[in-house]
Every structure is written in structure tokens, then in C-alpha cells.
């Protein structure tokens, strides 16, 4: 899957989860950039991303994820 397409889909997931249509994510986006992205919302987000791309993150990669770019890297490999 093209990286641009991944980010387009990620934007939709983020917009749904945080109920904010203005969100646009990039490689460097982290939890501190998005209002409401706390550890609890992170659980919902991960699950929604898995559902969107029909993949399952393993624990190790979720633990190591530092920003949206890391997430997109895994999706690029798996999806």
C-alpha cells in the first residue's frame, strides 16, 4: 500500500476516534499533538487502526511505537 494512501486512511481513523474532522497526521505526529490522545484513547485508536487495515499489531511493536510514522511503517510492511 502506498504511504500516501496509508496516511489518508489514518486521517479518517483519527478523525472518527477523536471526533474531530480537522485532524491531519504526519510521520512526526505524537500523542501530545492531539487533544484527547491519552493512554485510554490509545487503546481504542490501536484497535481502530487494526480494523481499518485488517492487521494485528504484536505487543512488541505497540510498545515500541513512538509516533504515527512508526505506525505507518508497520502498516506498510503488513498490509
Amino acid at each position: 500500500m502506498e504511504r500516501a494512501e496509508i496516511f489518508e486512511k489514518l486521517n479518517n481513523v483519527f478523525r472518527d476516534v477523536f471526533d474531530d474532522d480537522t485532524i491531519t497526521v504526519s510521520d512526526n505526529t505524537t500523542a501530545s499533538d492531539i487533544d484527547g490522545w491519552d493512554s485510554l484513547m490509545h487503546i481504542t485508536l490501536i484497535s481502530a487502526v487494526e480494523d481499518e487495515f485488517d492487521i494485528k499489531f504484536d505487543m512488541k511493536s505497540v510498545v515500541a511505537m513512538k509516533n504515527v510514522g512508526d505506525m505507518a511503517d508497520i502498516i506498510e510492511k503488513e498490509a
Binding site: V13, D16, V17, F18, D19, L40, I43, T44, S47, A48, D51, D58, M59, V62, V63
Partner: protein, 592 residues
């Protein structure tokens, strides 16, 4: 009802869009009952609380939620923090799982040791339940346990006492026994839910080790829906009746075209068997008091002929109202509701045709018209929709269909009398009107939670609260039972007054719509006045609080001869001086 929250729902969508769904639910113009619900968890409860809230709002219950600190279910039950005491929960839900079991047998333990272990484990829970009961007298909902994620002994895990599968099953039996012998205590059956969902997926270790969730996030909507179903049932928000289509719903084929011999029902063909099993399921629903009705586009004669098919499990007698005609189905459904004297929101419309379902939903948005899928899925979808979740099964519930049948007979007879009074006399009505009897407390509480139309103040009272009211001298209480030549209606009316010097404030007056226009309210007032006078009361004060459903009784106290004291847009107050009160009941023989 929000389409997104109706079974079969898309769990991911609910999880993802919970924020916008909540906004939508709160912006709907509907009335809610407010309840305080404490969630005491042995694992993370955050998403459970949020998703539970959505389903409850959809059922018309607006919860305030309290969540214990992580894993503190036992400490919060035994030594409640100030915050929980102030919260004073109506419902306590204990969210534990097999991850919370402290003592598991090991392979070196003997049976005595294991029994002792089991009792220790159980008594930890029992202590917590008792402490909660003594403190708040709440409705308690307790998870039982899902089966373990792995089986050390393989298939022997279920037979050997040292096997964790065996151990958990025994613990679950103890929980069930406790629930069966205690009021206002219900099991949230995650043992069934997790099996239904698939234990491998349900107990995904990822969620436990990453977030301390004892179940996978994706399973939470089904979990929360099941829990919400128990709560809405406790507060009387179950459905009461089914309106069923015939062709391709109760049998295969179209009776008008294919003829009675051409429809598929019975054990000759696989499709016939599917419809037979569905009819059997409906018959079982009827046995727990769910009213079956027909709403079909058919010639009446053809409909009856189809139901009289020799292989048909259901026969015309199993239905209370049969609408088989060429009217639109929303109109038929509206008439069924009216004839049964229940709200159209209490009826579930079951039809294989999506166009008919859409039409009924559009014209009666409160009526559930589930997408029942193909015939082999009808039972699963209706069952999982938890329309008829049982928390109390009173003898009245079981008899309900007899009562509706008697009502249909009464209505037929009524047309033969020129004078309504003559008709009432002909019914040979007998009533019992007394102070609350302990055996009727569950039914009385159930009525306060179910009655919407003939209900002056809509005071919802749980069974445990009712037991307190029954003991309190401050209150004057009456329940009324009514029977006639067609049958016994059981307990159908309740009045609770609060004494204040020479005045009795009527805090609750309700009556089941089954017995409207039978003058039962006059008999109740006569008894209330007699009791009031004998305890030195000189005045009755009545209150009417408007809801979306009780305009029927807006002028109730006026018709009983009370004078209005004041009136606002949504309430009124009335007074009756007991001097010179004349008894009003003329047709009912009352036993005190």
C-alpha cells in the same frame, strides 16, 4: 433507538465513534430515568463504562458512573472510599474475571484442600456482596467467570478437581446458587458470552498484558450490551410483545399463492425444519409471558389456514391479536398496540421483508424492527437482541397471555351491553385491597418500574427499596388485585401515601392498563380514605408529574373529586377533604 446500537451491531464502529454516538443520543428528544451505577473492577473498566453508557442511553436510562481505582473491587466493597459513599449507587456492578481468582488448585493438592480453597475464594465475594447490601442495598450485578485460556490437563481439566476448568465451573455454580436464592442480585453471564464470542479471541493475552483488560477490546460492545440488557430489564424496559409476519417468516412460501399444502413447515424438508424450530422458539417465548400477534398482508382465511397446517407448532390460539389484511403494516402495528393497551415501543416487529421493516421503522421509530437475516438466523438474532431479558419471572408474567386473552373476550362481550354499568356488573368483579404483603413485593416493585401511562408520579422503586417502604410507619400502602369471571388479573394497582400530621401525600398511584375503565381506582380510593380516616388523616394531597407517556391521568384527581391547588406546565397538585367523603365504588366486591 439508534440503528448503530441495535443487534446485530458493528462493534468496531461503536468503539470508534463512541463520542459522536453519545452526542447523538443526548440530542434526541427523549426522556431518561437517572441511575447511579458503580463499576467495581478487578481489571480496567474505562471502555466498559463508556460503551455501557451508550447502550443505557439508548434504553432510556441516563447513568452517572463511578469507577473504582484499578483492581480495587474488593477494597471498595468492604471499605468504601468517601467518594463511593457519597455516590450512593443504585446499582453496583462487579467486573471480575478468572484473572482475579486468588487461589487456584495445583497438581499436588488433594480434594479437601481444593474444597477449602473454593470456599475461601467464594466467601471473599460473598463478603463483598453482603457489605454492599448492608451499606447501600443496591441492585448487585456480578460477572461469573469465563473458562481458562489454556487447559493444563487437556480434556481432563474439566473432570479432575485440580483442573482449572473444573474449578471455575464449580465456582460458577456457587455464584448461580447465590443468585437464585438472593433478591436484587444478578449474574452477568460472561461464561456464556465468552464461549459465544470464542474464548481465544475473548481472552486475548495482548489486552491483559498491554492494558490489563480481561477481555479483548472488540468484545466490549457485546459485553456492555449484555450488561445493559440486565439493567434495562431491572428498570422495566423490556419489550412485551411480538408482531409477526407470516409468509417467509413463520413458514416458507406464500400461503395465498402456494396454498396450505404448498408452504414449508414441519419435518419433511430442511427449510421446513428451520421454520418449525423458529415456531417452537416463539412458543417458548409465549410461555414466559411474551405476547404473540400476527401482522401480515394476507386474506384472513388464508392466514388462519396456514396456522392450522397439521405440521405447524403454533396454532391460531397462540396469538392474541391476528391482523391479516391488506392495510399497511405500520397501521396494523399501531392498532395491535392500542388493542393490547401497550406502547408501540413495547412491540418488536418481525418480518423477513426489509421494505416492510423500513416502513414500520419510519412511521413508528420507537418500534424495534430488527434485521433478522435469513430464516436459520431468526432465533439467534432475536435471542441476542435481548428484547425479553428476564430478571424476575413472576407468576403474573407466566399468566400474562391468559389475561390478554380474557381481555379480548371482555371487549367482545362489552358490545352486547347498552349500559356500561350493566357490563361492569356482569363481570362479577372481586378485588383484594390490602397493605403490602411480602409475597407481592417483587410484583409491586416491578409495577412501579413498568407502568408508564396510568402513573401519576412515575416514582421508580427497586425491590429492595420497596421492602424498606413496606416496613416504614411513615407510609400508608395499598396494593389491589382484581379478578372477574374471565380470570384473575393479579396485582394491578399500587398506592403509596406519606403521612404528615393530618395530611396524606400520595407519592405514588399507578394502575396497569390491563384494567382501565373497570372502576378499580374508585375501589382503591374508598379503601385509602377508610385507612386514612382511621389513622386520623383529614386531607389527601395528590400530585401529578407529567412525563412523555402519562397524559392519560392528567385530570385523574379531578375526576375523583379532588380540588386543584396549583398547576404548572408539567405538574399539578390536588387536595381532597375527607369530611363527607362518599364511597365511589359500585361494581366491585372488595375483600380487605
Amino acid at each position: 433507538m439508534l440503528k448503530e446500537l441495535q443487534y446485530p451491531f458493528d462493534s468496531q464502529l461503536i468503539l470508534k465513534k463512541r463520542r459522536s454516538l453519545k452526542k447523538k443520543l443526548l440530542s434526541e428528544n427523549k426522556s431518561f430515568i437517572d441511575k447511579n451505577i458503580a463499576i467495581l473492577g478487578g481489571s480496567t473498566t474505562h471502555d466498559i463504562a463508556e460503551i455501557l453508557e451508550l447502550f443505557l442511553l439508548d434504553f432510556g436510562i441516563r447513568p452517572s458512573l463511578y469507577e473504582s481505582e484499578f483492581g480495587q473491587w474488593w477494597q471498595d466493597s468492604m471499605f468504601p472510599p468517601k467518594e463511593l459513599e457519597l455516590f450512593n449507587p443504585d446499582i453496583v456492578f462487579i467486573h471480575t474475571s478468572c484473572r482475579n481468582i486468588l487461589n487456584y488448585p495445583s497438581i499436588t493438592d488433594n480434594n479437601e484442600k481444593i474444597d477449602e480453597m473454593l470456599n475461601t475464594e467464594f466467601s471473599r465475594y460473598e463478603q463483598a456482596w453482603q457489605a454492599l447490601k448492608n451499606k447501600y442495598n443496591p441492585v448487585i450485578i456480578q460477572n461469573n467467570f469465563e473458562l481458562p485460556y489454556y487447559r493444563l490437563l487437556g480434556n481432563t481439566d474439566v473432570t479432575d478437581r485440580r483442573g482449572h476448568t473444573n474449578y471455575i465451573s464449580r465456582l460458577n455454580t456457587k455464584f448461580s446458587d447465590y443468585a437464585a436464592s438472593h433478591d436484587a442480585f444478578y449474574i452477568n453471564d460472561i461464561n456464556y458470552l465468552s464461549a459465544d464470542y470464542g474464548i481465544s479471541k475473548w481472552s486475548d493475552p495482548f489486552y491483559w498484558h498491554m492494558y490489563k483488560y480481561c477481555l479483548a477490546l472488540d468484545a466490549i460492545p457485546e459485553f456492555a450490551f449484555n450488561l445493559a440488557a440486565i439493567i434495562k430489564s431491572v428498570y422495566g424496559k423490556n419489550k412485551k410483545a411480538l408482531a409477526l409476519d407470516l409468509d417467509n417468516t413463520l413458514w416458507g412460501g406464500i400461503v395465498g399463492d402456494d396454498g396450505v399444502e404448498g408452504i414449508e413447515i414441519g419435518h419433511e424438508t430442511s427449510m421446513g425444519q428451520v421454520y418449525s424450530e423458529f415456531q417452537q422458539y416463539l412458543k417458548e417465548l409465549s410461555s414466559i409471558g411474551i405476547t404473540l400477534n400476527i401482522n401480515s398482508k394476507n386474506e384472513y382465511e388464508n392466514a388462519i389456514a396456514g396456522l392450522n397446517h397439521p405440521e405447524s407448532t403454533l396454532s391460531p390460539n397462540d396469538f392474541i391479536i391476528i391482523k391479516a389484511n391488506w392495510q399497511s403494516k405500520d397501521r396494523n402495528l399501531f392498532e395491535i398496540a392500542k388493542e393490547l393497551n401497550i406502547g408501540s415501543d413495547s412491540i418488536v416487529f418481525v418480518d423477513d421483508n426489509p421494505a416492510e421493516r423500513a416502513m414500520v421503522s419510519a412511521s413508528l421509530p420507537d418500534t424495534c424492527a430488527p434485521d433478522i437475516g435469513s430464516p436459520e438466523n431468526y432465533i439467534r438474532i432475536l435471542d441476542r437482541s435481548r428484547f425479553f431479558e428476564v430478571t424476575e419471572l413472576s407468576s403474573d408474567d407466566v399468566k400474562r397471555n391468559e389475561m390478554y386473552r380474557a381481555n379480548v373476550k371482555r371487549a367482545a362481550e362489552q358490545t352486547q351491553f347498552a349500559d356500561y354499568g350493566e357490563y361492569l356488573l356482569s363481570l362479577n368483579m372481586k378485588a383484594v385491597i390490602r397493605d403490602f404483603d411480602p409475597v407481592y413485593i417483587p410484583r409491586i416493585a416491578q409495577l412501579t418500574n413498568k407502568s408508564n401511562q396510568f402513573n401519576l408520579t412515575t416514582w421508580r422503586i427497586s425491590e429492595s427499596e420497596m421492602a424498606e417502604i413496606a416496613k416504614n410507619d411513615r407510609y400508608m400502602r395499598l396494593y389491589g388485585k382484581l379478578s372477574d369471571k374471565y380470570g384473575d388479573n393479579g396485582v394491578i394497582t399500587v398506592v403509596i401515601g406519606e403521612k404528615d400530621n393530618d395530611t396524606l401525600h400520595i407519592r405514588l398511584w399507578l394502575m396497569s392498563c390491563r384494567v382501565l375503565k373497570r372502576d378499580m381506582e374508585y375501589a382503591m380510593l374508598d379503601c385509602l380514605v377508610a385507612d386514612a380516616k382511621s389513622s386520623g388523616i383529614k386531607k389527601l394531597r395528590g400530585y401529578y408529574y407529567k412525563t412523555a407517556k402519562n397524559t392519560m391521568v392528567k385530570e385523574f384527581y379531578g375526576t375523583l373529586g379532588f380540588d386543584m391547588l396549583e398547576q404548572t406546565d408539567d405538574s399539578s397538585q390536588w387536595i381532597l377533604d375527607l369530611n363527607n367523603y362518599q364511597n365511589k365504588n359500585k361494581y366491585i366486591e372488595v375483600e380487605r
